[in-house]
């Protein structure tokens, strides 16, 4: 059992490593710097392939921006300053987490607002219904009569024809 676990574990590890190898290859010698650069750039959108981050895109623009990020970190810039470098050139669009601004209020609070409105409507409707008398939920007389007529018609039709084979 233990051997199976080890084999399985190493297979998963190998698969994980080979997946990681397909991402853009890190090239700096300094692993700490590289890790910091990757952490910052994985929050930033690559403008060429817009659904990839700058950290894992292989587009030449992303390669250049990673190089710039590395250089800025080496100059002793803070994470925020590196992000500012990007937004100064490409705008808030590069940020995967858009900042809270007058123009993004709806983006941030729209969904909770809609949920709250929907919830309020639901509560009002349910409370109104709970106050209704039980017979309000019975079928209307007219409909009940029609349903009865349909049943009767079906019954007589079935009576005249042979049953299913």
């Amino acid at each position: 059992m233990k051997i199976v676990r080890i084999v399985l574990g190493s297979c998963l590890l190998a698969a994980g490593l080979s997946l990681a190898a397909k991402e853009a290859a890190p090239e700096a010698a300094d692993p700490a710097l590289e890790a910091r650069m990757v952490r910052i750039t994985s929050e930033l959108r690559c403008l060429v392939c817009q659904n990839q981050t700058i950290a894992d895109s292989n587009a030449s623009l992303a390669v250049d921006l990673r190089r710039e990020a590395r250089a800025l970190i080496k100059q002793g810039k803070t994470d925020a300053e590196v992000v500012d470098y990007m937004t100064a050139r490409y705008g808030d669009f590069v940020l995967y987490r858009p900042p809270l601004r007058a123009t993004t209020v709806l983006l941030w609070f729209g969904p909770p607002l809609m949920l709250a409105v929907g919830g309020a409507v639901l509560v009002v409707v349910l409370r109104r219904r709970s106050r209704m008398a039980a017979d309000a939920f019975d079928a209307d007389d007219e409909i009940a009569d029609e349903a009865g007529a349909v049943d009767a018609a079906l019954a007589s039709a079935n009576a005249g024809t042979p049953g299913p084979r």
Binding site: L47, V48, L61, D64, R89, Y90, F93
Partner: protein, 176 residues
């Protein structure tokens, strides 16, 4: 009045549908540049045709000009090239080229083959100046006014329509 309340969800749905339809029909590739109405980034680059001559942004100031980012490897640049050549012939404003991440032999051969609309091209080998201008998809075109402020950016090839509807009216406004 109360009878019409059931229409509220329908109205809300229609509003949402219109908003989403507008959003879906926008081109996500056209990212608004934060550099519009900001001073153009300073640069100092060698000319494409003369590596010994350095051109600075300050050398170009004082006159409205167009800066077109191009490269010999850029397919869409060929598409806009005839439009640019025609425009340059009119001599309305100087047209400069930013030769982005290219090699000198390739770029020079490209100009020799397709024609040279540029008053001068600047050689941005590693694309750093391009980055400062927020370039992400060549070709891109900037209109810079006499004070060195970027007034317009167009992403993608210039078409006669873009020239007639966007660039030329702006140039007229800037009195170039």
């Amino acid at each position: 009045m109360k009878r019409l309340w059931f229409l509220i969800p329908l109205a809300a749905f229609l509003v949402l549908a219109v908003v989403l339809a507008v959003g879906l029909n926008r081109d996500p590739r056209e990212v608004p540049s934060p550099l519009i109405d900001k001073p153009a980034p300073k640069f100092a680059l060698a000319r494409l045709d003369d590596a010994a001559k350095t051109v600075r942004l300050d050398d170009l100031k004082g006159k409205v000009f167009i800066l077109n980012v191009w490269a010999s490897w850029c397919v869409a640049c060929r598409e806009e090239h005839p439009v640019l050549l025609d425009f340059a012939k009119k001599r309305v404003v100087p047209v400069y080229g930013l030769n982005y991440k290219d090699t000198r032999p390739d770029a020079s051969a490209w100009l020799a083959r397709f024609g040279n609309p540029y008053d001068a091209s600047f050689f941005d080998e590693d694309g750093r100046v391009g980055l400062d201008f927020g370039v992400y998809g060549v070709p891109e075109t900037f209109v810079v006014d006499g004070n060195g402020v970027i007034r317009m950016k167009h992403i993608g090839p210039i078409t006669p329509e873009v020239l007639a509807n966007k660039i030329e009216p702006l140039l007229k406004k800037l009195d170039a």
